[in-house]
């Protein structure tokens, strides 16, 4: 006996719309089962994971803060994934963006530099991420090297570069030998949108990126080029779209947005360079991009949802003594459920009992 997926002749739009909701409920049920098997109350966990963060103004702000880098990176990745190119190294592009942007902050530290510092930092962040992203793109178009491997391995290179800098040349001389840079001047700091709040201007960048991407992917020839390259590469060549320039463009865009996320996080959130500036945003953003089905608005929603699991996970660790790994497990379950839901909307499972087949 074996399974076969047969395409459904008609895919109902209602089912397509409800699939993520069903996926959500299923994921919560599975996670509840795991928690119950660990001897805790699923109801209490649901309360801590979902209800409490959503009912508290402080954690609502925290939600936006955490969703910001996720959304920025995932939006960038959606350009790559639509074109069927696999940038797995957003984490590295994030780090290099943060490093290059911070270089200016450290250079101007203690001087009377004015308002130009911050915009230039952000620009450098974008450039740094884009250049780091262009390395695997170049290797792929020039030598045919698999971009999955190179982009992933460059993550470790980027992390070691950061590690070297904060332990070596960029270490704060007055920092009691802690591996961290000086704290950025106010001129190099991304300020909160509301006085005294936690949400900084990075959230606005994410929102702009979402809207711009919705227009670019849906309404421009460039967006169509990516879709066509991903769905039918020969047709894309027939349309006159060079696959090399497409590859370079999407890696530059996704690297640039990851770099922007990196410098935004460092200047708006952390305030200095340290060995660890990301809880794995670059990797989690891959999940976010697919949870959002590579649709800009979907990605925005998915970023908020995944940010919720981060915050809920932290409080569950404190309040229920649940391991932080459970959060990652839940993110994985959620992604699998969404992908399975999508597959089941378009295909039906058939049990084949007899031999045959091709």
């Amino acid at each position: 006996m074996r399974f076969e997926l047969t395409p459904r002749p008609n895919v109902s739009p209602v089912m397509r719309a409800l699939a993520p909701v069903a996926a959500f409920i299923t994921a919560f049920l599975i996670a509840g089962l795991v928690i119950w098997l660990m001897g805790r109350s699923p109801a209490a966990a649901f309360d801590v994971y979902v209800l409490q963060p959503l009912s508290d103004p402080w954690s609502l702000q925290e939600l936006v803060v955490k969703a910001t880098p996720l959304a920025l990176i995932a939006i960038g990745l959606s350009y790559c994934f639509r074109a069927n190119l696999w940038n797995i190294g957003a984490e590295g592009q994030y780090v290099i963006g943060a490093v290059l942007g911070s270089w200016l902050a450290l250079k101007t530290h203690g001087t009377e530099a004015g308002l130009w510092v911050l915009p230039l930092m952000l620009l450098l962040g974008i450039i740094g991420g884009a250049l780091w992203g262009l390395i695997p793109a170049f290797l792929k178009t020039r030598f045919g090297v698999n971009e999955i491997l190179t982009s992933l391995m460059l993550v470790y290179v980027a992390q070691l570069v950061l590690d070297y800098l904060v332990r070596g040349p960029w270490r704060d001389p007055k920092g009691f030998n802690f591996p961290q840079s000086v704290t950025f001047d106010p001129s190099a700091t991304l300020h909160p949108i509301f006085e005294g709040g936690r949400v900084h201007f990075g959230a606005l960048f994410a929102l702009i990126a979402v809207l711009a991407t919705a227009v670019i992917l849906g309404r421009t020839l460039f967006g169509y080029r990516l879709k066509l390259t991903g769905d039918a590469p020969r047709a894309a060549r027939f349309a006159g779209f060079s696959s090399k320039s497409t590859t370079m463009a999407v890696f530059a865009i996704s690297g640039g947005l990851a770099g922007l996320a990196g410098i935004t996080e460092v200047s708006g959130q952390i305030g200095q360079l340290q060995p660890s500036i990301s809880p794995g945003y670059g990797f989690t953003a891959i999940t976010v991009a697919f949870l959002g089905r590579l649709n800009p608005i979907g990605i925005l929603i998915a970023a908020l949802v995944v940010a919720l699991t981060f915050i809920g996970g932290e409080s569950a660790q404190i309040l229920l003594k649940l391991p932080l790994d459970l959060t990652q497990a839940f993110q994985g379950i959620l992604l699998l459920c969404v992908l399975a839901g999508d597959a089941l909307v378009s295909y039906r499972i058939r049990f084949v009992t007899r031999g045959g087949g091709k």
């Binding site: 002749p9 421009t220 349309a239 006159g240 045959g356």
Partner: protein, 515 residues
Amino acid sequence: MKADVSSSGPPLVELKGISKRYGDLLANDGIDLSIEPGEIHALLGENGAGKSTLVKILYGVIEPSAGEIRWEGRPVSIGSPVEARNLGLGMVFQHFSLFDELTVAENIAVALSGDWDLATVRGKLGEISRTYGLALDADRAVWTLSAGERQRIEIVRCLLQNPRLLILDEPTSVLTPQEAEHLFTTLDRLSAEGCSILYISHKLEEVRRLCRRATILRAGRVVATIDPRASSAREIAALMVGSEVGEIRTDAPHHPEGEMLKVASLNLPPAGMHGQSLRDIDLTARAGEVVGIAGIAGNGQTELFAALSGERLAGGPDAVVIAGRPVGTTGIDGRRRLGAAFVPEERLGHAAAPTHRLSENTLISHAAAEVSRSGFILVNAARRLARTIVQSFDVRTPEGDPQARKLSGGNLQKFVIGREIIRKPKLIVVDQPTWGVDAGAARLIRQALVDLARQGSAVVVVSQDLDELFEVADRMAVIHQGTLSPLKPIGEWTKEAVGLEMLGVAQASGGVHAV
């Protein structure tokens, strides 16, 4: 002599009420068919009539939804091709399943069930080759062989298993006229020895040459079982299509003038390991005429198309000249902007993106169509254009703006050709315009191409279908192993002469080699 069809005793194989349902589509609907021992039975029908489905059911590849198969009067269930072979069925598929890197003998040995060593296979191969006149060199690697020779391997492979029923799916689609005649002789001989043959085709002449009984399918049903020799080609065509098939109107060309395409000494290295290189191609197409390029698949047509369209750039700027402008180093966009249009062989995946809607698919020739402005897509213009194409070219669609893959082959081909013709291009290059397309659609497409030429465009048609080229072309050349024969007016060609050029023996000796 052929076995007597009205012999007593049960038929060799009998299909009763075979149905196969795919979702909403009934691919086979209560089909009855019987084949006598030693009979060559034709299965006729247009593309999409359900021939392939029926044969796959018979060969155990797919399972019928309903119905019964009887073998020598006794009901059988054929669960897999292995079971089919054990019963005594052999099948030669339209697309060969051979390993390019292996030799002929190795390919045969690999596919045989049971204990066979290479020496035995070689011995048997020689025996069968001699008996049936199927010349094959056991030690040649398959990739060096012509399509006709590859087909012979498949046939020999079947014959080694002593089949009682041999099924051939569109066997002549890859053969030259001479090779086809050779195949017919072999089939006559097999039939005389008592082997039944189920011959699937949509070419009437062949069926009339070979068979005494033909079962005609239309839209999944048997519409008639006839003696093809007793009916005219026109009657049979009407049964297949369900209506009268008209002929193409070709008014005499006005005096063609103005070279829209000029190719001079074009050379192109092969793209892949077993690809074909192009050597010293010279070709012209003038406004107002249809130029045909004949040839068996795999002789450089794909490469020639890529070089003409600009998907592959070859040589210097002067290697390809479109509308008087050297474009040898200009990509496909630039050539479209000069008024050229292109339709590749593959509809899905090359000419159109399967999962994209028709309106989105109009964007593929965006460089020359009015569907974008300064980088932005004009969504309404694209929808309007798609609708106009659908209406002007009789494209039958399941809904308003469906995905390309939802269309049948013929309808998608009408759309893809319509998308280019509607721009009134000065030059259009079409590779296999009616490949796998039903007769009605094929007629519409050919007429549209001829009309376009008569309105003053240059039309280049690359096709394996000789009848098609004789119908539409004003001048024709034959491509063989990457070289092009001289371009001559269609009246100066005979089918025999074309066949010789296809085999590459025209200049060599002027006679037919035993191939």
